[in-house]
């Protein structure tokens, strides 16, 4: 499912987001590019601090402008967002592009009813009356599967269960039929049953409206369920890109391989222990030189010389497929073979 036949709806080119802090400059995102077409879901995977959430807050223009230096380009439907004014962004937010946050309890205002919060987004962008907004809120609650929506619309978030709150959050994000939906770990705080329901809901809504979705998660199981394409981030950079099938069953980057090895598989042998990636995510204040993954990489010594610690591997994409690693294809085939053996039977 590559995007060669369609104009990208969202196009990010060489995005760099740097924060200045008291300790120095944090390179949260360091040269990220990707395209997304309508009706497609891009899964962004990575550990905490890999730059996933920052990327998406930057798309919406919700970063702290005083402390952030941004380079690159973000094009939404051909419109450049980084140079857009606050007023223009306000018109787009919640309307053409919207976002679902991870913790629905903290992300919904405790002081306003669910109906008010959904309705005010609609009113802001359509200028309709209060009663119309309320009707729309009830309709949205019904659509996301909240029982008795005409009664629950006047409830406050604390009166909803966790799953219902996340549904309400989705209803709020979708109230203006956005063309781009960014879901930032929307199911992380939920139990598995509710998680599955929420993802089915997102898939249904995507089919109905052809929404482009960016789905951020650190859970590869969720990616396997919902994504069309996958982008793996590490230390503010994209290390691997491909379709879901390519990335999950034929990883080309040692980090992706490490992620896959650290999660249980239904098809693999039960007695194979899970292998965590050694070390911890890099400090973005003072990131490792060369390939940012090299201090934790199991194969860094396989590359001739010290290229891994001196030279940044470039992401070379052929039809949106590729990885940023100095290993040669032949080396990868050989070194990653164990993985293929445990995964594919």
């Amino acid at each position: 499912m590559t995007s060669t036949d369609q104009q990208p709806f969202l196009s990010i080119k060489d995005l760099k987001v740097h924060f200045s802090t008291e300790d120095g400059i944090v390179k949260a995102v360091d040269g990220l590019s990707f395209d997304l077409v309508k009706g497609q879901t891009l899964g962004i995977v990575g550990e905490s601090g890999s730059g996933k959430s920052v990327t998406n807050l930057t798309i919406l223009g919700l970063h702290d402008r005083d402390r952030t230096a941004i380079e690159g380009e973000i094009l939404l439907d051909g419109k450049e967002l980084l140079s857009a004014s606050e007023k223009e962004l306000e018109r787009l937010r919640g309307n053409k592009m919207s976002m679902i946050f991870q913790d629905a309890l903290a992300s919904l205002s405790p002081y306003h009813t669910i109906g008010t919060q959904i309705g005010e987004t609609y009113r802001k962008h359509t200028g309709c009356s209060k009663s119309e907004a309320r009707k729309r809120a009830i309709e949205m609650l019904r659509r996301v599967g909240i029982p008795q929506p005409d009664m629950r619309v006047d409830d406050y978030p604390h009166q909803f269960s966790g799953g219902m709150r996340q549904r309400a959050m989705i209803a709020m994000a979708l109230v203006c039929d956005p063309e781009l939906l960014i879901a930032d770990e929307p199911t992380t705080a939920l139990d598995v049953t509710v998680q599955a329901q929420i993802m089915d809901l997102l898939k249904d809504l995507q089919q109905e409206f052809g929404t482009a979705i960016i789905f951020i998660t650190h859970d590869l199981g969720v990616i396997a369920d919902i994504a069309d394409d996958v982008l793996v981030m590490y230390g503010g950079r994209c290390v691997e890109r491909g379709t879901k099938k390519e990335v999950l069953s034929d990883p080309q980057h040692p980090y992706t391989l490490g992620l896959l090895n650290s999660m249980p598989s239904l098809h693999g042998a039960v007695d194979v222990p899970l292998t965590p990636i050694p070390g911890s995510p890099p400090s973005l204040l003072n990131p490792p030189s060369g390939c940012r993954f090299h201090p934790r990489c199991a194969f860094a010594d396989k590359v001739v010389g010290d290229r891994c610690s001196t030279e940044r591997p470039l992401l070379e994409l052929v039809e949106d497929r590729g990885s940023a690693c100095h290993l040669t294809d032949a080396q990868k085939q050989e070194l990653f073979a164990d993985f293929a053996a445990t995964r594919h039977n």
Binding site: L62, E90, G94, S109, T121
Partner: protein, 326 residues
């Protein structure tokens, strides 16, 4: 709501009972005999006994307390001195004036002082806190923060006299503090109290600046504020309707306590500006070992604090729907 009010008012009654009992007991712990003071220099034991009887302090302490309580609920008779109908707080030891009447005479001044100062410190304190929160780390924030630090280190008996010396006597910008009932002349009421309001407000303003700044800064970093921005709401809308709503609770709480305290009398302020309010009354009563007056003022102060606490809780429930009154 009704259950909440009944429950809290009953609780308030118990608190006031305890406070009055403790005050009563403490009063007798002070080694001073009000009868001696009342009797004068050439006092004979017989005269002293007579005075004790007149003041109603010839009974054991618990019995005196019981008479005092009875007076509040059903009235009290003082024999040849006359009857005192409920609610009776007794008569001053010092000048035989009725306690309730004296307090009610002084109350308008204290109320004017309290509410006037509250208006000033709310506007300036919360306003400065808001600006500081919006301009975090910029010069406006630094000015507001330094000013509030300075303000909170000042004392009324210091600022009060200096302000009076310069603004009233040297430059003549403000009137000498005095009290004219608002019903007589609103203009005189205002100009007479302006200086005490400003001075009293200085101390409180600092507190409110720091409080509202820290509350707003905290609220602005809340997830739901970010969500509101992600919905396309404008910065000012989000600030006023979302961040403010969350910041209001703690501010209302300290405001309720402060207002309750002020209504019990601003003792220092009233003394500095020679205003005859409840605070001054309390001070004089203590100096004269005037038990009924001390009890009356204590009851008023405690009552004001207790009542404002109930009001604060009710307001809190209006602000935050997660809180339910029961």
């Amino acid at each position: 709501m009704f259950r909440f009010l009944v429950r809290r008012l009953l609780g308030a009654l118990v608190i006031l009972l305890i406070i009055s009992a403790v005050t009563f007991w403490l009063f007798y712990a002070i080694p001073r005999d009000p009868a001696m003071m009342s009797c004068g220099k050439n006092c004979t034991p017989d005269m002293l006994k007579q005075v004790r009887h007149n003041l109603g302090i010839d009974h054991p302490i618990p019995v005196q307390y019981w008479y005092w309580l009875k007076g509040i609920f059903v009235g009290r008779s003082y024999g040849d001195f006359g009857d005192c109908s409920a609610p009776c707080l007794g008569y001053s030891f010092a000048n035989r004036e009725p306690v309730l009447g004296t307090i009610l005479d002084r109350l308008p001044l204290t109320l004017s002082l309290a509410f006037g100062a509250a208006v000033v410190f709310l506007i300036f304190g919360v306003g400065a806190g808001m600006i500081a929160a919006l301009k975090q780390g910029k010069w406006q924030d630094k000015v507001a923060s330094s000013a509030s630090l300075l303000g909170s280190s000042l004392q009324i008996y210091f600022v009060g006299y200096i302000a009076m010396y310069f603004l009233v006597f040297k430059m003549g910008i403000l009137d000498n503090p005095s009290y004219t009932p608002i019903t007589e002349s609103p203009a005189d009421w205002f100009s007479g109290l302006l200086l005490p309001w400003l001075v009293l407000a200085i101390i409180f303003t600092a507190n409110y600046t720091r409080m509202s700044r820290s509350q707003l800064v905290e609220q602005l970093s809340e997830d739901y504020v970010r969500t509101a921005r992600a919905k396309g709401l404008s910065r000012s809308n989000v600030f006023l309707r979302f961040a403010w709503r969350g910041a209001m609770g703690p501010i209302v709480t300290i405001f309720g306590v402060d207002l309750g305290t002020l209504i019990g009398g601003a003792i220092i302020t009233e003394s500095v500006f020679s205003l005859q309010g409840v605070g001054r009354l309390a001070l004089d009563a203590v100096n004269k070992s005037d038990l009924p007056m001390v009890l009356g003022v204590t009851l008023l102060s405690a009552g004001a604090i207790v009542v404002f606490n109930i009001v604060v809780d009710a307001v809190y429930a209006l602000i935050d729907p997660r809180i339910r009154l029961a």
